[in-house]
Amino acid sequence: MSLRWRDAGRQAMAFAILGGLLFLMFHLTSENLRSRGIHSGFGFLWEPARTPVADSPLKVEAGVDSYAKAFVAGALNSLKITFAGIFSATIVGVVVGLGRLSTNALARLLCRGYVEAMRNVPLLLHIFLWYGILLQLPAAADAHAWGGQVLATNRGIYLFNPVVDGFEVHAGLFVTPEFLALFIGITLYTAAFIAEIVRAAVGSLQRGQWEASTALGLSRATTLRRVVLPQALRVALPPLTSEYLGIFKNSTLAVAVGYQDFMAISNTMLTETGQAVEVMAVVMAFYAVVSLLVSAAMHGYEHRNARWGLR
């Protein structure tokens, strides 16, 4: 315990040093910029934003809300895709990972093919592909509302009482194809990596654990759910953390298909204000802080889980 605290202290110190260095760098750069006649400073954050953010939990209106609020809206969007991605990629990944250990040879083969196809091609291409596919959905006017509740169009998937009204569709809930393409792309791509992690973790389990479960007459499903996966999770946690952080950072590809994540909004702001250094400083800070929080949370979970792992 005390050891962990000392470790944390050391990390904190290191971050303080690095933070100082970074601050110095930014300071020097902005001095440099000023000397070249470029306006700088963080004052722009409170000026009204010149672009709206429509598809976000936090609506930002052009000319009314501040740049700071636009940043927050982007941050929410980034977190939204990240958490959705983590959730679904984990499920798909576990299923595929276990599929590679299936007794059915075809399932094993397909899962292997899936993993290879996904992880050997850049994510951006996957996202383009899914966006292209989603755009094949019918236009809003031609779409058929299934059970009157689900309307799948290339404008988005609308749930709960979708009503087509001129150019617009009103519904209880909807997701845009941009979000979906990013979401499906990230999910399926990351799931391939998670599948490999799961496979390795399950493989690292001692054979005796399988045998003991078998000898006790447990079914394969019970064995997986109660004996194998909980133990595999422990081995898999550190690499899983990396994958989760990967999802967060990969969400910056959103800009390619027009989903307004933090990076996309920052880019727009940067073009608008021309304050590249400041905007990028905010970007780095956001990604660094969230990543560190996520990995701290995962470490905490690891420690909580470690009570039985006195190896």
């Binding site: 001692q206 078998t214 000898a215 006790l216 447990l218 019970t222 133990q231 039985w308």
Partner: protein
């Protein structure tokens, strides 16, 4: 007399390695068998065939009246009637002792959790680890872990217990704990097949000793006879080594 286990002309190969060769063995209800033999002689393979953890290629095997064929059989029923204790304990490290003991009864037997816990506590008390019921395996000594493993197998109320060198991963002092427990169990009249080199145990509880070598059963005899006047030359050599080491 009803036999709880009947093995007839059983052969097993690992790839092209002939691991068990024409095994013939019958174990009566309540009978206690000790299997011994040099390393690699196929003791573990035999015992693992009995509850279907390993498959075999030819011959017949009947456990508790259920026939296991080379192509398999009603493994589930067999396994519910046969308990097994491993050399490496193989406890589930992420579950407490009590959870280890209740998992199979609740999921495979459909017992209620409460009932399963009551049964488990009783059995844990019998192997004298009841006070550790809420600890994790890693917090117990080896001897205690092995006793938990025994209790875990007993929780399924098996009619036949299989032990695969249950004491060889233990420190000398812990060996005693576990053997005492097994002796106590043996006197309750449960059938058991036990692979072990502990001659003291064999002498004390075994009805018969089975000696194996190169996948073959070479000699079957009551312990007094086997340890006193082994008849097969290989058995004589083996016992010589064992006493020396």
């Amino acid at each position: 007399m009803s036999d709880i286990l009947r093995i007839r002309n059983l052969d097993k190969w690992y790839g092209s390695y002939h691991a068990l060769r024409s095994i013939e063995l019958a174990v009566a209800d309540q009978e206690r068998i000790v299997v011994c033999g040099p390393s690699g002689s196929g003791k573990s393979s035999l015992i693992r065939c009995i509850n279907g953890i390993e498959s075999f290629q030819s011959g017949a095997l009947e456990v508790c009246g259920i026939a296991l064929k080379p192509e398999g059989g009603d493994l589930t029923t067999v396994r519910r009637n046969v308990g097994m204790v491993f050399q490496q304990f193989n406890l589930f490290p992420h579950m407490t002792v009590l959870e280890n003991c209740t998992l199979a009864p609740t999921t495979a037997r459909g017992m209620s959790l409460k009932e399963a816990q009551a049964v488990a506590m009783e059995l844990l008390a019998r192997v004298r680890v009841a006070e550790h019921a809420h600890k994790y395996p890693a917090q117990l000594s080896g001897g205690q872990q092995q006793r938990v493993a025994i209790a875990r197998a007993l929780c399924m109320k098996p009619r036949l217990m299989l032990f695969d060198e249950p004491t060889s991963a233990l420190d000398p002092e812990m060996v005693k704990e576990v053997l005492d427990t097994m002796v106590a169990l043996a006197h309750e009249g449960m059938a058991m097949v036990c692979v072990t080199h502990e001659m003291g145990f064999a002498r004390q509880v075994a009805d018969r000793v089975v000696f194996m070598d190169e996948g073959q059963v070479l000699e079957v005899a009551p312990p007094a006879e086997f340890f006193g006047t082994p008849r097969h030359p290989r058995a004589q050599a083996f016992l010589g080594d064992l006493l020396h080491a």
